[in-house]
């Protein structure tokens, strides 16, 4: 005989239940796989249409400037000849236009590679010059940023990690460099370094050109301060965390702590700043080239191309438009990509 059930009892009658099917069991599983910080950030980045657009634009530009010199038979400093003869009619051609001599040569059955963006005032293929200009500008931007990254991170982490008086002195130096008008100092150093470097017969100097070396030197001297400040600030906040204390207590060396605990924690900020440093370096380089202190002739850079196009502005405005549009595109793409990276990887902005 079954005991009378108390109406207020919490006892549940098992007969009222039925077993879950396999399908229903699967629904209760945790849906998403666990992701790493990098994967999560990349997923966010790929959702940002502006960032994806700038990645595509940058990739297209990079592919063009690596592939184009292999296809186009002209070099950036070569004055185009037709069938080995000097062509006097090929100056300042419009895009896809042939000079009279080339026209005649084609009619005779010869083949002339088209001038995609025309030619410049000396009869050089403008497309390949713009391509090389973009190459130079991007390379300068990239290497200058890497230089800034290395110096800034080392300086900033030493200052932040050591703290105390060392930090104070190191940061005063940073303050002073920060308050110097950078562009003026760059121009000044470039003027000074040029005659000094010209006299040395160093093969590296000759290969790169004195102005390029100047640009790198001034970047190395001046532009790292922003990065150093940032890294120091990051380290000061990270340094006080418990896991650093734990690492110290088991006898980890400062270099190990910086490498294994601190740098990984501020890496996202460092990457974002570097990405935003590239357009500013390109800006500076094109500015210097524009006032005639950038790369040495006949090596083109986007700034120097824009500068030399100024002379024929009234008659051949397109020669200005091509490099100018390319500078704007590159800088814009890097800016937007940097912003996208910040939104995707900066943990502080996460919650928003």
């Amino acid at each position: 005989m079954e005991a009378k059930k108390n109406p207020l009892s919490m006892q549940i009658d098992p007969a009222l239940f039925e077993a879950a099917t396999d399908d229903e069991k699967r629904q209760a599983d945790v849906m998403s796989e666990s992701t790493t910080f990098f994967k999560d950030g990349m997923r966010k980045l790929m959702k940002n249409p502006l960032a994806v657009g700038s990645i595509i634009v940058l990739l297209l530009i990079i592919i063009t400037i690596t592939v184009a010199p292999l296809i186009v038979p002209y070099s950036y400093s070569e004055i185009i000849k037709v069938n080995g003869r000097r062509d006097r009619s090929n100056k300042n051609l419009a895009a896809f236009e042939y000079s009279e001599m080339e026209q005649k040569y084609i009619e005779e059955g010869g083949e002339v590679f088209p001038h995609i963006l025309g030619t410049d005032s000396l009869g050089r293929d403008y497309f390949i010059r713009v391509v090389y200009g973009a190459r130079i500008s991007l390379t300068v931007g990239l290497f200058a940023s890497i230089l800034v990254l290395i110096i800034g991170v080392i300086y900033g982490s030493i200052a932040g990690y050591t703290g105390g008086r060392t930090d104070l002195i190191m940061m005063r130096i940073v303050d002073i460099i920060y308050s110097l008008p950078d562009m003026l100092i760059i121009i000044l150093l470039a003027t000074v370094l040029q005659p000094i470097l010209e006299n040395t017969n160093n093969p590296i100097v000759n290969a790169l050109g004195t102005n390029m070396i100047c640009i790198f030197i001034v970047f190395g001297l001046l532009y790292w301060v922003g990065m150093a400040r940032l890294v120091r600030g990051q380290i000061l906040t990270i340094k006080n965390n418990e896991y650093i204390l734990a690492a110290k207590s088991i006898g980890a060396k400062p270099a190990h702590i910086i490498r294994k605990h601190i740098i990984p924690n501020c890496i996202s900020v460092i990457i974002i700043t570097t990405a935003l440093q590239i357009p500013s370096a390109i800006f500076t380089e094109s500015f210097l080239s524009f006032i005639g202190m950038g790369v040495n002739d006949p090596m083109p850079s986007l700034g120097s191309l824009a500068n030399s196009a100024r002379e024929g502005l009234q008659t051949y405005p397109m020669q200005l438009v091509y490099p100018a549009v390319l500078i704007v595109l590159i800088v814009l793409a890097f800016n937007l990509l940097g912003d996208g990276l910040r939104d995707a990887f900066d943990p502080k902005l996460r919650s928003k």
């Binding site: 308050s179 121009i187 000074v192 202190m293 700034g303 824009a306 502005l313 500078i327 800088v331 800016n335």
Partner: protein
Amino acid sequence: MTRYIVKRVLLAIVSVFIICAITFFAMNAIPGGPFNSEKALSEATKQVLEQRYNLDKPVPVQFVLYLKNLLHGDFGVSLKTGRDIKDTLFSCFKVSGRLGLTAAVLAVIAGIILGSMAALFRNGPIDRIIVFFTTLFTAMPSFVFATFLMLVFCIKLRWLPVWDASSKSLILPVIALAAYPTAYVTRLTKTSMLDSLGQDYIRTARAKGVPMVKVIFKHALRNALIPVITYVGPMLAYILTGSLVVENIFTIGGLGQQFVKSINNRDYPMIMATTIFLAVVMVICNLLSDIAYKVVDPRITLD
């Protein structure tokens, strides 16, 4: 407060001193002296000249003498023209100063208006347009924009003459110089305006029945303008360096053009004087904007 100002002033003085030192020693490091021209001077003449310009003394002594002269407002003599640099510098600065100040005022006013509009009509068509243009202008070097302006308005449309000494021709250079700072101020104003519109005191003001216009101008905008003040210093520095190219493009006889000309001429005393002069102007601007920031908002600690 006083301590902060004293500290900032000291830092500014140190910066100016370092700029003078860098300029002086850098110029001294260039091989060749001012009297090593093609026409060889006799040994005696050279000695007299070197004595006249203190070049026979050791470099540190020369530096001290140069600083002493600078403090007296003596910038030396241009190698190219032989004229007193001080006069050239000040007459050029008048032109550049007018250009730069106009651009700065334009940038701040236009930036604040556009920024507040973008914040108030957030995600609307006005905001979209403003965001598009600010993004574009922050990616455009001033020389590109200046030459584009010249191409469109002077050459294609022929609204303005390519070169004109009258004041009307300042329109394009001012626009070219102001474009980037305007975009930056717009961004700054927009972010801080959005920030302050979300604050509790705005809700309180709205709740007690203050009209929206009054809330915007009296509560939101006032607080939103604080970050703009900090940007004024860097903005003036940007405008000054930007004028280096803009003045050259529009052939305006200001400091920028003088600077580039002296670089091309390798007129070292002129380069030194212009660098130091521009640098001092920039350091002073930064100093003033930092102090103003602190005065306006005492909550802020910049250390």
